[in-house]
Amino acid sequence: MTPTGAKPWPKMTSREEFQFIAELVMACSTADHTQVTLHDQDGGTARFANNQMIQNVNMRRGAVAVTAAFGARQGTASTTDFTAGALRETVKRAEAIARLSPEDPEYLPPAGPQVYNPGPTAREETLAAGPAVRLEYANEAIGQCRMENLSAAGVVSSSRASVGVAAGTGLLAFEERTEARFSITVQAGDATGWASSAHRSIDRLKVQERTLSAIHKATLGVEPQELPPGRYRVILEPAAVAGLWSWIIWTLDAKSYLKNTSPFAGKLNELILDAGLSLENCPGHADLLGVGFTAEGLPSAASRWIHRGVLRQLAYDRFTAQAQQVATIPTIEAPRLSLEGAAASSLAQLVKSAGRAILVTNFWYLRTVNPADLTLTGMTRDGTFLVENGEIVSAVKNFRFHESPLRAFQRIEAWTAPMEAVTSETGKMLVPAVVLPEFHFSSVTRF
């Protein structure tokens, strides 16, 4: 790596400094309960398009938020100024809001001391990475595309953060987190291919491998044929699966469930999907972006949400959890979706076994059409192909779909082991590529 010569950034907030901030806040607070949260981040993005840099940015932003409560009246104020005077002023603002607020019947004091399982949330190589490292990776991806006479657009980003939560109850959580992301769209004429990655380690982004994958997709995508809309067998690559499953995860909240405004209403402990499917949270997994604790300072823990197709868990806020006597609130920031039984050894193997199907690289602009049954819409993007007799025979023009993942994943014909999946609209997950017997494409676009 070539150093830029730029001076090093100021040190990020340490655990000791966060404790000092928290003690200062507690000392000047007159509230019944006070909670302080820290998010101090330094990071940047090298962004390229048409094979050259279009943006190259770095930002350091530190913020402290104080929540003060008098009885069940609460208020939150935040600041980006860490001086003692500004922190005292922030406490005053939070208290002023709390005094004027109506009582919240769902208010709960901050949690007490917790036990955390330290996870692999920070990597040295990402802590040390700056604009020069990001530029080098971006240039590597651009170079590969230039060699193929193709046009690349994408990003390499990296960040480090100090995150903390503390309260007068003795709650104290703090950890360093790092994150790096890479994504690339390769254009070959009118066709595009896409790939992405995310990891705690910037050196695990697999820039070369992902770029070659996007180049391959773009090259395969030329001269797409137009197929009529309808119901097709589909092979969904991991990014496409992650796009659909993100919506399942986002709609698992217990409050909506209890008020019958959830697509899962009445289905807890019932078979809702293919009996081989399981969804679990794996905060300690080295290839996921798990964290040690939530925004409220509650510990993350391994948990099972769907087991063999049966819905086993809901997402609780603290009030609803207490009302439902749920002692430990489960989290799902590091999801892993898997299927029991014999898995195909690779995506290529899955294609070989699929007969006639549409292969989908990724979905785009997914939105709810009907929240009651979780019918979604969205477009295929950056690599949609017709598979016949186990081979990709041509690219096809992008489809719009109109489908609920709760229907589509009722039966899964074939699958791989879970693989890394990151999309522009979701976090990182481990999910399999799957073959679904039927998927509803409702219209087709012009490319």
């Binding site: 770095n58 530190g62 595009t192 785009w364 719009r400 109109h402």
Partner: protein, 485 residues
């Protein structure tokens, strides 16, 4: 030693940039204060007061961009961040093939202030909370309504923009908005109906004029009527779209494709490109002759009317589509010269001090026509009248779209009859706008807009207003947004 002023910090950064040999540089110092009060199910769920201060330095060095930003505003941090922006720009320049050249812009010295009648930050918090609680009570007083939500939001941005070219502009901008939603349950189905003010550069008078307590009973009644309404039968319908609904249709199918950075491939990896490629400028029939879409960043109270953009370019008014023909893009100083334009349209905006400015949709609006809404509806045999925003999705070139809405009424033989549910329409952008055969007159014009328009990597939230009168579109494909229909 006196406390340094923002002007002192700006001078410090700009001197370093000038002495580095960079051809251009600017600094934005921003102090944003925001307050959001969010109610849910007859309780105040959160009150949050945000105070966010920082600065961002942008440098163009031998045709390569660098940007660095920090929330630490000090005499040590400002030069360090300026130096980092210079170093990053040098890195970009080292691998550049095509070097950035900025369109020229006169030097401006100005101060821009949002005129407000009632400063939203001086209205007592208790008064705001009481309004939300009363609104939610009114929503849930309706039998069948099981959930309610209501929210008020306000933000003030004090900003100094200064460039190495000599432009210095101070800003003191305010924006406000409010909304409420009722969710009704019936026969195992649920549906929501909302009312919201447009987010505008106005004070608390916007909230007072909205009369939430008067609106709430109607919203609640319509939520129940909606959930109990028959589902639409799929097929071709004539659509009459209200201004709020049209704001989203225009935003997605006209606003985004008219961003020149998209058309040039800058957003290919995320937000996407545009079917409005540069070869179509001035010749492509985007819509029928009824369709004239004008970008106006000078209209008072609108979100993008900030006086100057984050390139320091004065806000302007220009045509995007004139009588159906595509005639103009939203541009900044970097991309404008790529289509031979001598000057930027002044549509380069960042969402905070920590974000680099990018091309943003202007305040694009549909020019009024001659009809009344009643006349538009009277000439429909089988159609649907749609209000508000619902589900929306569009492909990355902004061709294939699918939109829902917040409320739907069946039109039969020229009369608006009963409500429908689960209405979704889809189409191809230019085919859709070519089916527009009538726009209501100026008396029906209303403004709506967005403060959550996602674009860029890292992602930013853009702000813009879209005004329209009601418009009619013939023979549009409608599907049922549920089940396996």
């Amino acid at each position: 030693m006196p406390t340094p002023s923002w002007q002192d910090f700006a001078d410090l950064a700009l001197k370093r940039i000038a002495s580095s040999g960079a051809e251009y540089g600017d600094i934005r110092l921003v102090h944003s204060t925001a307050q959001s009060i969010r109610g849910e199910d007859r309780r105040i769920a959160s009150i949050r007061d945000t105070d966010d201060v920082g600065f961002g330095v942008r440098v163009l060095y031998r045709g390569g961009w660098g940007f660095a930003a920090s929330s630490i505003l000090s005499l040590e941090e400002v030069p360090r961040v300026a130096d980092l922006a210079i170093e990053i720009a040098k890195g970009s320049a080292s691998i550049a093939i095509e070097h950035v050249a900025l369109a020229r812009e006169p030097v401006h010295r100005d101060r821009v202030v949002t005129p407000v009648r009632i400063d939203p930050f001086t209205v007592p918090l208790g008064q705001k909370a009481d309004l939300l609680l009363a609104t939610m009570d009114a929503l849930q007083a309706q039998s069948g309504v099981v959930r309610s939500a209501a929210e008020l939001w306000a933000r003030r941005d004090r900003k100094l923009f200064a460039s190495t070219e000599g432009t210095r502009v101070e800003f003191d901008l305010v924006a406000s908005s409010g909304d409420c939603t009722a969710t009704a349950l019936s026969d195992g189905r649920f549906a929501s109906r909302s009312f919201n003010t447009p987010p505008l550069r106005r004070g608390y008078e916007l909230i007072e004029e909205a009369e939430f307590l008067k609106q709430a009973p109607r919203v609640a009644r319509e939520a129940v009527e909606k959930v109990q309404a028959p589902a639409v039968d799929a097929g071709a319908y004539d659509l009459v779209l209200d201004p709020e609904h049209l704001s989203l249709t225009m935003h997605e199918s006209c606003g985004h494709p008219s961003e020149l950075d998209r058309a040039l491939g800058y957003e290919a990896n995320y937000a996407g490109t545009s079917f409005l490629t540069t070869d179509k400028l001035g010749t492509f029939r985007y819509g029928s002759t009824h369709v004239t879409l004008v970008a106006d960043n000078t209209e008072p109270e609108t979100l993008a009317a900030t006086g100057y953009d984050d390139d320091g370019v004065a806000c302007q008014k220009w045509d995007i589509v004139r009588e159906g023909i595509f005639t103009g893009y939203c541009t900044n100083r970097e991309v404008a010269p790529k289509i031979g334009a001598a000057r930027s349209r002044g549509s380069n905006r960042a969402d905070s001090w920590g974000s680099v400015p990018i091309v943003r949709i202007a305040n694009i609006g549909l020019e009024p026509g001659q009809a009344t809404v009643e006349q538009l509806i009277a000439d429909v045999r089988r159609g649907i009248y749609i209000e508000g925003h619902g589900s929306y999705s569009i492909d990355q070139r902004r061709y294939n779209f699918q939109f829902g809405g917040d409320a739907f009424w069946l039109i039969e033989n020229g009369k608006r009859t009963h409500m429908l549910r689960d209405v979704i329409y889809h189409g191809i952008t230019p085919e859709f706008w070519n089916r527009c055969d009538g726009v209501a007159d100026r008396s029906h014009r209303q403004r709506y807009g967005f403060i959550t328009c996602g674009k860029g990597q890292p992602g930013q939230s853009g702000w813009m207003t879209h005004a329209a009168s009601h418009a009619r579109f013939r023979n549009i494909q409608v599907i049922r947004g549920e089940g396996r229909a």
